[in-house]
């Protein structure tokens, strides 16, 4: 919640106290302040709120949020992304994933702007067991946002090629689990990139899904903000660990015409962000356990941290859209 000043370096503290919060370095003349964004990303671990408004990046430290003009923060549309609840996991990295999911719901319910709905970007269950899906649905019922839109993770489609997932969460979706919907003029696309994984491969969308996507967005005005959500990242984060989708370039090509595209993913259990042209990519924390940064461990397994630090590496993502603004404001916060 609040930034702990003792955890912030003197340099960061100085930056956070600067009277002028806007960073204006527009070297490529495309309205994207990459250097500012990178600085902002460095703050993300200590709590920074980054907003792209009219193509200009503004960043504020989380501890100053109470001073901010609510109009800057609020939007016409507010929703939350949670991910990787892995209900059923019970190893040392987190022996009680139900408790941390409940804590995430507590965090959601404490947001000053109640979200209208939630996106769950997959790995809802750990072993695709019915009781695991039941528990997640039960816990999420106590969230202020009653509607939840899911996409499957690879842990949700074990043993039965996704049949159970589809019965529970795929109503209204295409047989392969992908679908789209509109909220307040924003077009949401849920993609499934965990089916039919090939040996040695990455995530995959497949020809059917790509053709559906092309058709789905074809007639939308280019000013329509687009939010794409899928489990495995749609950009290549780290191929050695399978952190990427082999045919996502084709999907992104269909979205090229849009002025604002936000891609929300999970799977890697850590926050990563990337801006490429009009597309902002964002991966969320897990509510269950963290995973190591690319290459910093022999394998991408559950990462054990001291028990008292666990909640500081799990989290939720709050997204706000203000009509007319260039992009959605994406804010991560941890459970601690």
């Amino acid at each position: 919640m609040r930034m702990h000043w003792r955890d912030v370096s003197p340099g960061e503290r100085k930056m956070a106290n600067r009277p002028k919060d806007e960073i204006l370095h527009d070297h490529n003349n495309d309205g994207i302040d990459r250097r500012g964004f990178l600085k902002c990303m460095a703050w993300a671990g200590t709590g920074a709120f980054c907003v792209m408004q009219g193509g200009v990046l503004k960043s504020y430290s989380m501890s100053r949020l109470s001073e901010m003009n609510p109009a800057d923060m609020k939007g016409e549309l507010s929703f939350v992304q949670i991910s990787d609840s892995h209900m059923g996991f019970n190893k040392p990295a987190n022996p009680d994933v139900a408790a941390t999911l409940q804590a995430a719901v507590g965090k959601i319910n404490a947001l000053s702007t109640p979200p209208e709905f939630m996106l769950h970007t997959g790995d809802i269950s750990h072993l695709s067991k019915p009781e695991e899906f039941d528990t997640v649905e039960q816990i999420l019922k106590s969230a202020s946002a009653k509607d939840v839109f899911y996409v499957p993770g690879e842990h949700d489609v074990l043993n039965d090629d996704g049949k159970q997932y589809h019965e529970r969460f795929g109503k209204g979706a295409q047989p392969g689990g992908w679908y789209s919907f509109e909220k307040k003029g924003v077009h949401f696309v849920g993609l499934a990139n965990v089916m039919n994984l090939k040996a040695g491969g990455l995530g995959t969308l497949g020809q059917d899904q790509l053709e559906w996507l092309e058709d789905d967005v074809k007639h939308l005005k280019s000013s329509t903000p687009i939010v794409v959500f899928a489990h495995i990242p749609l950009w290549t984060v780290y191929p050695e660990w399978g952190w990427g989708t082999e045919d996502s370039a084709q999907a992104l090509a269909y979205l090229k015409k849009f002025g604002s595209v936000t891609v929300l993913n999970g799977h890697i259990h850590q926050i990563m962000q990337k801006v490429e042209g009009n597309v902002t990519f964002h991966t969320a924390c897990s509510t269950a356990f963290p995973q190591p940064k690319p290459g910093e461990a022999p394998s991408p397994g559950p990462m054990k941290v001291p028990a008292e630090q666990l909640r500081s590496v799990l989290g939720i993502t709050d997204v706000n859209y203000v009509q007319g603004k260039h992009a959605l404001a994406v804010v991560d916060s941890t459970l601690a």
């Binding site: 072993l127 074990l158 994984l197 090939k198 040996a199 990455l202 050695e240 660990w241 991408p300 559950p302």
Partner: protein, 119 residues
């Protein structure tokens, strides 16, 4: 003379007896070895199969055991065999009755691959 013949025949019998015992012993050892050779184990840990590639005789039962703290599956690339999801300490066995090469992977983490060569 008779005594030496008697002793000789005793010796021969003994040797034959011993030889028979040795032969039986040999066949006992051989069958024990065959039983050992007809099973092999692959450990799954740290997002990898160990050993990555094994060579076994026709008729061998290979058992995969998951020692990782995350579930995995064992799926043949050519759809010859497919395990259900294996949580920590769960096993999957398959008996290879035909010679050939059997590449496989974990369908949850497709970067994990292995191979069984059956000769």
């Amino acid at each position: 003379m008779r005594r030496s013949v008697f002793v000789a025949s005793l010796l021969v019998t003994a040797v034959m007896g011993l030889g028979g015992m040795v032969a039986e012993h040999k066949s006992f050892v051989a069958s024990a070895q065959e039983k050992q050779a007809s099973s092999a184990e692959v450990k799954i840990d740290n997002f990898s199969f160990g050993p990555v590639a094994i060579t076994v005789a026709v008729g061998t039962t290979v058992t995969w055991i998951n020692r990782d703290d995350i579930p995995h599956t064992v799926v043949s690339t050519d759809k010859v065999f497919k395990s259900k999801v294996l949580d920590t300490d769960e096993k999957f066995s398959y008996t290879f009755t035909k010679a050939g090469e059997y590449p496989y992977f974990c369908s949850i983490h497709p970067k994990m691959t292995g191979k069984v060569v059956v000769q």
